[in-house]
């Protein structure tokens, strides 16, 4: 298992270096069109060939990975903060506040996530700029994905509120905010961190699904999801198997996250 974890760390480190160095590894950029070379096969200039409008597939893959793998952790951070707030408030106050928060959590957990995402996404304009579409997509993921984490935080906060050291702190006259800052937050840090790490692969997959359905990041900006959408042309996919590389990269990166997550969960 140690060797597999080492491989997973190596894959994630390589991915991080690749997306950071995208500018040097793919100087053509994701937007530049080589109009004389549409749908070209792999060559020395275009490692993965070009797409329908002559854009370099390798450059689009690198920049797509950058968009998905940088913004998914940001969305995960946002969702963890939200989960910490709702779960923390529910666990700290208890009683009716907890019941109301749990009802809200139940509501979010009752609707299959993708249904909720496409419903809210449909309310927003579909013809927005690529930059706005990236923000909207990942903000929605962060805004709608907090419920499961909030339930975990709520249980953790509730258990802490019943613990002896919190009772002692309260008896010593610790005020609400001081109690939260000195006793609750440090002890919930592990659970919050675990929820943050768990959310990252979930959000990458959700963005990939949204992108594949045409409801994610808008053209010409690439993301792992929008690159998957190109695979829907199944007729040309059989003679051009290199086009499956975005899918392979996605599976390898998420699998690496999953392998490391088990260790992280145990630690927290």
């Amino acid at each position: 298992m140690k060797a597999i974890r080492f491989v997973a760390i190596a894959v994630l480190a390589l991915t991080a270096f690749t997306i950071l160095g995208a500018h040097y590894l793919a100087p053509a950029g994701y937007e530049q069109q080589f109009r004389e070379l549409p749908q070209a096969g792999p060559s020395a200039h275009h490692i993965l060939g070009t797409d329908d409008v002559g854009r370099d597939r390798w450059a689009r893959l690198l920049y797509g990975m950058r968009v998905s793998l940088v913004l998914a952790p940001l969305a995960a951070l946002f969702t963890t903060v939200l989960a910490g707030l709702v779960g923390g408030i529910a666990g700290y106050f208890g009683g009716w506040t907890e019941r109301c928060c749990k009802l809200l959590i139940d509501l979010f957990l009752s609707v299959p996530w993708l249904f909720l995402l496409i419903t809210v996404r449909a309310v927003l304009p579909l013809n927005i700029s690529p930059e706005a579409s990236v923000t909207v997509t990942f903000a929605l993921l962060g805004l709608l994905g907090w419920a499961a984490s909030a339930r975990v935080i709520c249980t953790g906060a509730k258990d802490l509120m019943k613990s002896e050291f919190v009772w002692m702190a309260r008896a010593s006259g610790f005020s609400g905010l001081k109690l939260i800052r000195l006793h609750l937050m440090p002890n919930l840090r592990g659970a919050l961190l675990a929820q943050f790490w768990i959310s990252i692969p979930v959000f990458i997959i959700a963005e990939a699904n949204l992108g594949a359905l045409g409801l994610g990041v808008a053209e010409p900006l690439p993301s792992l999801g929008s690159l998957l959408r190109e695979l829907q042309d199944s007729v040309t996919l059989r003679p051009e198997p290199w086009r499956l590389l975005p899918l392979v990269v996605l599976i390898v990166v998420i699998s690496s996250f999953q392998i490391l997550l088990n260790k992280q969960e145990v630690r927290s």
Partner: protein, 287 residues
Amino acid sequence: MLRFWGWALLRLAAVMIMASFAGAMLMRIAPGFSSDDQELNSGLSAQSIQAVRKAHLADANIPHFYAQYIGSLMKGDLGTSRSLNQPVKQLLRERLPVTLENLGFALGVGWLLGLALAIAAQTWNIRALTFLANGLSGTFISTPSAALALVFLLLRWPPAFAAALLVFPKIYRYTQNLLQQSSEMPHVLTARAKGAGPWRVLAWHVAPIALPQLIALVGVSISIGIGVLLPIEVVSDVAGIGQLAWQAAQSRDLPLLVNLTMVVTFVTVCSTLISDAVQRGVTRSAA
């Protein structure tokens, strides 16, 4: 039991009220809500157009709009799809059986595969088998449902099987953890020390502890199954409610989309409640 059902129904009502309110709000704030195609109809008189506008102005009042929406829902009227120009009820009647059939297949195969591999890995404790099962579940848990549907489309395999493979890792991982925890309990260790065989230990000592939690997972797996079926139906062109929801999202048909989400929420909450009730029953009879 009566108290449990009372609370369960109250919870169902509260969730549905909140979901319907959120749905009504979404429809109300969606761009283009106050406009109507009829306003462009040159055959209508100025008075008729004024009447259409007046009707929309009445809808601008959110409490009034919500009351009207709930009133229609109570009568079983789910409204009319703007893009398909058909009653939502009729669309559901046509599409729901397709989704339920695929969901049944996906859950059946996913559960069978997940349980079989988890039990085999736990009982025989063969390293290669555990490695294979973990590898398979790790691969499918890392694959977006739309991408797996594409691969299945290329291979001309049934799309419901793709859904089954996406449900399987969740069942496998949960069951394996549960069996692992249960098999480390003192009475199980004692049974083993007294010479009970692996199947006897599983059937008489591990299964009774794990069963209630597995029953609770049935309700959750229905929600997971519905979620993975949406992209699969879109990519594989299966005429189920997932594809209908996607079509509604593409054409911004909010009445259809919100009502579909409400129906899915109702099915999910009911299935969770039923599995919770069965879980309680099993726990009580075991005690």
